[in-house]
Symmetry: C2
Subunit: 351 residues, 2 copies
């Protein structure tokens, strides 16, 4: 296969972890006879510094014409805690999601046996957890009309969803459930919100097309509780943008493997793959960041091209490294800590 | 003191736990020389069955003219999973909050040493947790304009806040922080929402009036994570209605003492006190429900009248019962389980 991949390294540790994912992907390409062309482009604070905006048109061109986007992380302390600054990296993120039509954010939470003890939850609560959130990413209150009235003393944000938007996301949810344990949970606040009632009735109407999938409907506050109590009782969950933002982050910390969690944002044309961790500015350039989440994101990318064997080979390499203790300091637990680059080299050598 | 208390027992186990709280409150009144007049009124499914609506005008009259409201729980399975039913108990709840102006929901999460092992979190994560959420309860997306367009294919919910609403809630937050460790966390999503930017700028402008309070600003998704990771790093948190709904429920399960957590909803005129647990329909009439959360809610009520000693005496009785193993089956852990009524009797006898 010939693959054109847009490479958005971003800020902080982004470039370092991306470098390792490229290295491991290239090893996969060589082994399986694919040809990857990497197309680097600017994003985030790095792009603001260079050209004054976080998602420049030139970057959009590169992404739009690529077969997929591999993304590092964005964010820089100089933009922190100032949500009213005129230009901020997050705006680039939202603009990119919208412009590329990345409507479904796929966020798995699973456990690695060797990392179970890192979880804040007791072992018996977390063991066996393997769930996936599908978060709607281009609608809802993030993108509705927002503004001020009464000389700035009243603020509003409108949350809007159309039936077609819900169907598009829910379809992915049903399809994913069919490849897993055929359990789907629709998360909403239908006892209060009209948009949630639209979500619920739309999903209910789709149930007949997937007779094998067992669908449950739960309120967002109840899910926020059960995620901490019995995370392993969930499989596939679908939800709207803001609920998804909160719940996927909550879910990410329960496993103890947060630093290893990959994600995908799927669009109709192009999809994007990125680790869920941030840009960890303090670690920039120190060769200590854990590259595994980015490598696993690249694995999701291969799988999304239908290259299942390639994805599995990457995952296996990560598991092997974990077992062999070839890990960065966040996982070293007093043992030897390898550098970001060394872990990348080891993974590439073990493909 | 002469106290007129509206008594809204509600559904399910509501009447049983309320009965115990009344018994213990009466013992307090006798000991400290107060006179309580209880004014029962209908609410929830019970009210729908009786008069066709969940918060009848007659109930509102009783509440409005009372010094405080003591509330059990509402909700009945026949209204579950049908968010589009024409009349539902939750509507009564929202109507009551708005009509009584209950703008600040106070939700403490604390631990009881004897219950620490019931937490899904590891002991070292949860030990020492003692935080309070102030959730705005009569504004935001719950009460903004909502509806459908395009023949029902588009739904919308508008989230609206005024500066005055934020100030009112934040003032309570600063005041509460001053009586505790002087740490206040403002939870918002100011990197995306205009209402959140209004929240943040309003709280920032109030900082100068409380120079001793150290204020932090955190995004709702980050708080959803840190609540699971380091709950004991928080003290007072203030937030808007929907974020508060999700985060207070998440916080309630981390301590292992969920069944014991009280809450208050404060208004300008009258305030309401209720356990955070639900109506547990399955346990109705079985004399097995734990009355302690309702008793602790009554303790908050006394404290809110400035009757600190009375509140403390009730709390001490609950602690004593826990230590003596005078508990309902949810806390019995294989030991002897007392009935709802017996726990109530014991608490009253130990005032
Ligand atoms: C940075 C922010 C705008 C973003 C979001 O809320 O979507 C982030 O929290 C995420 O989840 O990717
Ligand atoms: C029943 C529901 C409307 C209510 C809410 O969302 O406010 C409940 O979840 C709560 O938190 O009291």
């Amino acid at each position: 296969m010939k693959l054109n991949i847009a490479l958005l390294a971003g800020d902080g540790i982004g470039p370092e972890v991306i470098e390792q994912a490229v290295k491991v992907s290239d090893a996969i390409a060589q082994k399986f006879g694919h040809e990857i062309t990497w197309k680097p482009a600017l994003t985030g604070a790095a792009a603001i510094d260079a050209v004054g905006e976080p998602y420049p048109d030139s970057t959009h061109e590169v992404c739009k014409n690529a077969d997929a986007v591999l993304f590092g992380a964005i964010g820089h302390p100089k933009y922190d805690n100032d949500p009213s600054a005129p230009v901020r990296p997050e705006q680039g993120l939202l603009k990119m999601r919208k412009a590329l039509g990345l409507f479904a954010n796929v966020r798995p939470t699973f456990t690695f046996p060797s990392l179970l003890d890192k979880s804040p939850l007791k072992r018996e609560r977390i063991e066996g957890t393997d769930l996936v959130f599908l978060r709607e990413l281009t609608g809802g209150i993030y993108f509705g009309e927002k503004g001020r009235k009464d000389n700035g003393d009243t603020a509003f944000d409108n949350c809007v969803y159309t039936r077609a938007e819900v169907q598009r996301l829910a379809k992915k949810g049903f399809e994913l459930a069919m490849t897993r344990s055929k359990k789907l949970c629709c998360v909403d606040k239908a006892n209060v919100l009209e948009t949630s009632r639209l979500w619920r009735e739309t999903v209910q109407a789709m149930e007949k097309d997937y007779p094998e999938v067992e669908v449950s409907y739960e309120f967002v506050d109840a899910v926020a509780m059960r995620l901490v109590q019995w995370p392993n009782s969930y499989d596939v969950l679908i939800t709207e943008n803001l609920f998804g933002d909160i719940l996927t982050d909550e879910a990410s910390v329960i496993s103890g493997s947060m630093g290893l969690m990959p994600s995908a944002s799927m669009g109709a044309e192009v999809s994007l793959f990125e680790p869920i961790h941030g840009s960890y500015p303090q670690a920039t350039g120190l060769n200590i960041a854990n590259p595994m989440a980015t490598v696993l994101s690249a694995a999701m990318m291969f799988e999304n091209f239908g290259l299942t064997e390639e994805g599995k080979t990457m995952r296996d390499a990560v598991n092997k490294a974990l077992e062999a203790g070839v890990v960065t300091e966040d996982l070293a637990d007093g043992g030897k800590a390898y550098g970001t680059k060394e872990v990348g080299d080891w993974l590439a050598a073990n493909i």
